[in-house]
Symmetry: D2
Subunit: 324 residues, 4 copies
Amino acid sequence: MERYTAYIGEPSFDVAHLAHLELLTPKFEESIRFFVDVLGMTLTDLEGDSAYLRGWDDYAHHTLKLTAASKPALGHFAFRTTSRTALERRVALLERSGLGLGWTDGDRGHGPAYAFRLPGGHTGEILYEVEWYQPTPETRPALKNQASRFPGRGSNVRRLDHINILSADVREDRKFFQELLGLRLTEIIVFDDNSEKGAWVTPNIKGYEVAITEDQLRGHGRFHHVCYAVDTREEVLRAADICLEHGVFIETGPHKHAIQQTMFLYVYEPGGHRIEIGCPGARLVVAPDWQPIVWSQAERQKGQAWGLRTIASFHTYGTPPIEE
Amino acid sequence: MERYTAYIGEPSFDVAHLAHLELLTPKFEESIRFFVDVLGMTLTDLEGDSAYLRGWDDYAHHTLKLTAASKPALGHFAFRTTSRTALERRVALLERSGLGLGWTDGDRGHGPAYAFRLPGGHTGEILYEVEWYQPTPETRPALKNQASRFPGRGSNVRRLDHINILSADVREDRKFFQELLGLRLTEIIVFDDNSEKGAWVTPNIKGYEVAITEDQLRGHGRFHHVCYAVDTREEVLRAADICLEHGVFIETGPHKHAIQQTMFLYVYEPGGHRIEIGCPGARLVVAPDWQPIVWSQAERQKGQAWGLRTIASFHTYGTPPIEE
Amino acid sequence: MERYTAYIGEPSFDVAHLAHLELLTPKFEESIRFFVDVLGMTLTDLEGDSAYLRGWDDYAHHTLKLTAASKPALGHFAFRTTSRTALERRVALLERSGLGLGWTDGDRGHGPAYAFRLPGGHTGEILYEVEWYQPTPETRPALKNQASRFPGRGSNVRRLDHINILSADVREDRKFFQELLGLRLTEIIVFDDNSEKGAWVTPNIKGYEVAITEDQLRGHGRFHHVCYAVDTREEVLRAADICLEHGVFIETGPHKHAIQQTMFLYVYEPGGHRIEIGCPGARLVVAPDWQPIVWSQAERQKGQAWGLRTIASFHTYGTPPIEE
Amino acid sequence: MERYTAYIGEPSFDVAHLAHLELLTPKFEESIRFFVDVLGMTLTDLEGDSAYLRGWDDYAHHTLKLTAASKPALGHFAFRTTSRTALERRVALLERSGLGLGWTDGDRGHGPAYAFRLPGGHTGEILYEVEWYQPTPETRPALKNQASRFPGRGSNVRRLDHINILSADVREDRKFFQELLGLRLTEIIVFDDNSEKGAWVTPNIKGYEVAITEDQLRGHGRFHHVCYAVDTREEVLRAADICLEHGVFIETGPHKHAIQQTMFLYVYEPGGHRIEIGCPGARLVVAPDWQPIVWSQAERQKGQAWGLRTIASFHTYGTPPIEE
């Protein structure tokens, strides 16, 4: 099996997991309704132009912040570190890199965060202090090892799984995640001309928490999608049934990705963002010496796992949209 | 939510994951057939009195070693570290503890391993060098990010999930895993008299890779079960159908544990060991500051998640069996 | 395979399917909330002391009528015939039997019905004219071959599946269904003393639409349970999760019946009735010359399909309850 | 909801179900291996150039007969009647129609059959006497209400579900099934010019057992596909995984049909026939007065249920293939 050995260092455990993301939406109320009714998320806070939401097994105050804005865009995404010490280590590296933007005071649900800008223009944050979600009488789970009650509503998404950003230079953004944040590269697309078309990185044993794919329209800081996870592939199919009933636009799927083997369903929420309801399943990359899987140009032309052609808009549609 | 704060230190990332276990069996051939035909595992090596097996997504040469013996027992279990350096750190700690047994030369599929004895009498190993499984033409997967072909045979277990050992002193064994191996405690049963009845520990973001439960017969070094994971709860039900067809004894289940919420099915393999086909599902403990869930005596008397009474043999049957 | 040949005549196709049932409940409002929130049914009509409900794929105005009363009991159940002619044929037979009670004017959702009394005391009806459910804007399905929108709420039960009545004389009630209504017997329990302990009968190719099981307390006209069907066994498990979250009492399950192989979950609704959320799955009895499966006393002592003991209350608890 | 009222008579119950089909294959051995290893069927008989196979819950000796031939084609398909009397009634009608071909002596697994030719050129049979499958020690099920053991092999298809024939004149062939065999029309595609593009008919409460779709190449007696059913949509996905591992060509799917809502996966077996592994699920058409669902030209241009475009080869590829 061909492996990509461009960058594999001593494993780092400074970043624990993807913590949350902020999406700007021009249809604030409709977007909230989509995440609550169609995805089955819980609204945990609402302040001014921002709404805070989470899946039923997300332990934090929120994993999604929606902010009213004139057009859809990624506000920022954030990682949580494994400790305060780890946070300090990463901030020091970011400051030296010239890509650091400095500390913010935090937000609802978390403490001080250090902001940074990716080479491709996206804004990220790294933080340690978070507020755990406190169930209300309506959301208190029957089993106390669960973050909150299973909602029994819409798609019942369980937790934030990953984000996918569009990049005009996949290699530069990939190296940022590996070198400055210490994430591991698990899979990558490298074309015959040695250009990188997509990269999947993770801070833990999940197969990926960030995907970086090529923006064929060469946008700056554009967002591809966020994925919320359900437990089974059947629940992805059920989410498709539910989206159909709600008149939600299904861009592609349900089908299985060849890369990472995630069962996927891509839809557009009212604000314009692409949302994935996905099932990465029991796939875990536990090997500490995992060598990245390298997908060639020829291999990528085969389409998805069971043969579905990758839809053209997958390489061009992002938020904010660009006139083609 | 009540939490157990007896031991929570700075997180350690020295241990990567549970690597394998060796089971001694008095019915060598029948045990092999069980794991191959009923569980759907692959026999990767056979030498003398030992057979080496793995699930279709286990990346290593083997996760289960079966060795012919006069009675059923746990030979040993093994963890893989995240690096050579991490291995050295842990070996130094083990040597100082007086519980170290010294280095072995390794075995089929892995390099040198450092052996140790738990307070409760079980033998463990820790190692870094492993041989990755190399698919044969018959087991080569269609997707190259998969360890081997999905077998389409029996229960199609995916990977080694966890082991459960019986202990006459749960607290002592639990502390061993936390203090000497750096695992995290995620859930625990503490009775009104402060005695610990069960503890679940993990080296990564899976909810647990080792469970330690009380041996009500006060045996020494006895084994409770090993769990191989499937992707969905439905596959656990299907495994029950398959065990029924094969005349395999079902001890209890399928049902859902309250603790860790694993969907379980417990059966006995021909050699006498209790085997779980389980679905931990998408449950991941990603929070670096997870506080252990403490289950009280009263809570444990409620039975399993959906109300099934915990079967009496669960507290007494282990391998080797003890005459009651 | 042993078969029961006591009664197999020329197949009759006069009865199409189980149409609805009426349950009397002492907790009218709570019962409605249970069927709407926990089961995911739709309230289609409400008049006086009666509420009318249906599952999302039930084509009729209702399949369940709830009526406020001082204690829980079966009001009546009803079959729909395959034609007006078939209805006339059956009414003629019922009148001759002396068990006919005469015509009623019908009810919300259906036209004239002919009532009858079973030997065991239960009241049944037979009818042909029904009102099809007309979706509202809120319940209109995206696919027009579906009765109404998939609700995405609670257990999302699809359709009425079967009822189970308790009988002091299973043989007498069984013969009534076969001889007067023309249903087929598909499975039966016959003990060593030739007493019948349970019988499963059907008017179509589903395995059963009525089960008659022995009332060990020798009650008169008591009700055992009604089953609403979901599509998969996993959905039965999910229903158990949802009942757990709602504090609904789970009597037994989820598990798989040996007889008919239905995946079952038995819970009690607020009014006291036992309700099954079940998955008969793709099991169809298409053979026109199917010989009834006869389960012996010894076979029944083995418990359910995967070994679960049949719970004692299964033979004694019914509605109205009897003081033991 | 628009309904098609061209032909709805008094319901007939003369035909019980689709009994079997014969496929001619130029790759006899490979075809057998496909149905046994990939689909998980059992070979029940082998004589000369013909092999007889069945799914694990098919009660009959066989539901599929494979016969070696120079090119792939449908040999014939057969219905079983609900009684001998019903058979006689239908033979009389067929004889009067001029489409009857006369009696044959039967075959392995069934008695005398009356053959007929469809307007579109396909050969069918109707029969009553069949041989029930007798399990061997290897195929004896643990539960005696099951036709044979669950195999735990490949896709584990349960039973023959339906066939789809290509027709140059859908209306003529549809009328044949309704008028001469007494099947019910449940769904139909009628274009703006009043031409019928597809029709789905059934003899029982399954949504369909025969589909007739337009042959855009105007072939004679061509075969579109046979569907074997599994219990869940997830099993259709798993079948796709298994086909991928076996290098089986996947034409389209897995996805959900808008018409009849069947979860589908279409693949080609080695002999060239299109095979569906499908899940019609719990969808049953129990209403005796079901009005056929009429799909318009505009509606059909929307693609499948979740938006997948209908693949072009679906309207042209059949067996025997035609050079375009």
